[in-house]
């Protein structure tokens, strides 16, 4: 009887502890989470579109409402290559999110046809690394707030694009040959060896006829 009582007591204590833990974790983590903190040094050709996904995860039991937008950090003396906010679109723009929910967004970067090759949106490569915030210029930003609140919280995600020189139309073919050079040579050798063999077969058939 005493044993049963102790067991029940232990169970109750454990239940209370676990229940309490649930409240502690809920009060600590109430922020919105994102799966990427930077999209720097993306590569693309003029006239092409770079597309990638970004995911938000809600950790607040209450629903938050938010939206995405672009931001250019203006610094005196910047060239016109630094503001690429007009290249970027995020879909969907608005969102609501709550605990346990994940929302996926599509970020599209439309590189203009006349964009010159080189880095755009940041003053140097590797601007995503810690200690390089001064080199970033263009960002995608998300922010959200609880209910009808006027206090928002969000994150700045830097974007930079390395525009490549106009693509040579032979480049994909050359790349394919380079990647499969051994197989291509073997196939050629087989074909070369097959030709006289097939010819001989044909001549034999003709002779028979």
């Amino acid at each position: 009887m005493i044993k049963n009582y102790t067991k029940r007591n232990k169970r109750n204590v454990l239940f209370i502890l676990l229940f309490g833990l649930l409240f502690i974790t809920n009060s600590i983590v109430l922020a919105t989470a994102v799966d990427r903190m930077a999209f720097c040094d993306l590569e693309g050709y003029p006239g092409k579109t770079i597309i990638f996904k970004i995911t938000l995860e809600g950790t607040d039991p209450e629903e938050k409402s938010g939206f995405w937008y672009t931001h250019y950090k203006k610094v005196e003396g910047d060239s016109d290559r630094m503001d690429i906010t007009s290249w970027v679109t995020i879909e969907p723009k608005d969102y609501t999110i709550k605990e346990g929910e994940t929302k996926v967004f599509t970020v599209k970067i439309n590189i203009p046809k006349d964009a010159e090759s080189g880095l755009w949106g940041a003053i140097s490569k590797g601007a995503d690394k810690e200690g390089h915030s001064g080199e970033r210029r263009t960002y995608v930003v998300f922010k959200d707030a609880l209910g009808d609140g006027n206090v928002y919280s969000g994150l700045l995600i830097p974007i930079s694009v390395n525009v490549l020189p106009n693509q040579d139309s032979w480049a994909p073919i050359i790349n394919f040959i380079k990647k499969n050079i051994v197989t291509i040579i073997l196939v050629l050798v087989i074909i070369i060896l097959l030709i006289p063999f097939l010819r001989k077969k044909k001549t034999k058939r003709r002779r028979r006829k």
């Binding site: 009060s27 928002y152 830097p158 197989t183 073997l186």
Partner: protein
């Protein structure tokens, strides 16, 4: 002259090419070792009450005379009974910021334009929570009441708090209520 039988040669080359393709992959696979690494998700900065870790939703500046300075805003958790206090000792912020992200974040503050043109300027002070001698708020958040973003250049380590003080100067507009939103943004430093 002896005739060369090409059949075995062709067969050999076909078999050899298949062998190269298959074993090439197999050898590469045998030399692979699995590595695994996981990064934690990045999270936004929490804006919480003066004492409790409860997320706040609104900051309110009490009514005051046109052209006056308001330095006693309050949040919805601590309510109007416990507003911001500016003092050379025992100062209290309007809200605290808490970094729950797994890395350090650099803090940006952003406001939208005050409606009805009721605000002529807004300032902020972002300090460690142990600093309690804030009697002046003079870092510019908006010099004209219009929308603005400010990179505070202040960083917050994982799990740390900062105290945010706000102050605004009303414009000459009388008998009006205005709204604006304030945003706390984080960035990898």
């Amino acid at each position: 002259m002896n005739k060369i039988n090409r059949k075995p040669i062709i067969g050999f080359f076909i078999a050899f090419s298949i062998f190269i393709n298959i074993t090439g992959e197999a050898i590469a696979a045998a030399n692979d070792a699995t590595q695994e690494a996981t990064t934690a998700q990045a999270t936004t900065i929490n804006i919480v009450g003066k004492a409790a870790d409860t997320t706040i939703t609104t900051i309110t500046f009490p009514e005051s005379a046109p052209s006056s300075t308001i330095s006693t805003p309050y949040n919805n958790v601590d309510t109007s009974g416990d507003p911001q206090v500016l003092a050379s000792s025992d100062s209290e912020p309007v809200v605290r910021l808490k970094n729950t992200h797994s890395g350090t974040l650099q803090v940006w503050l952003e406001i939208t334009t005050w409606s009805n043109g009721i605000v002529s300027s807004e300032d902020y002070e972002l300090v460690d929570t142990t600093t309690t001698n804030i009697d002046e708020v003079n870092d510019v958040l908006s010099s004209d009441g219009n929308a603005n973003s400010v990179d505070t250049a202040i960083t917050m380590g994982t799990g740390t708090y900062k105290a945010l003080y706000l102050e605004l100067v009303l414009s000459s507009v009388a008998g009006q209520t205005g709204n604006s939103t304030i945003t706390v943004l984080g960035e990898t430093p």
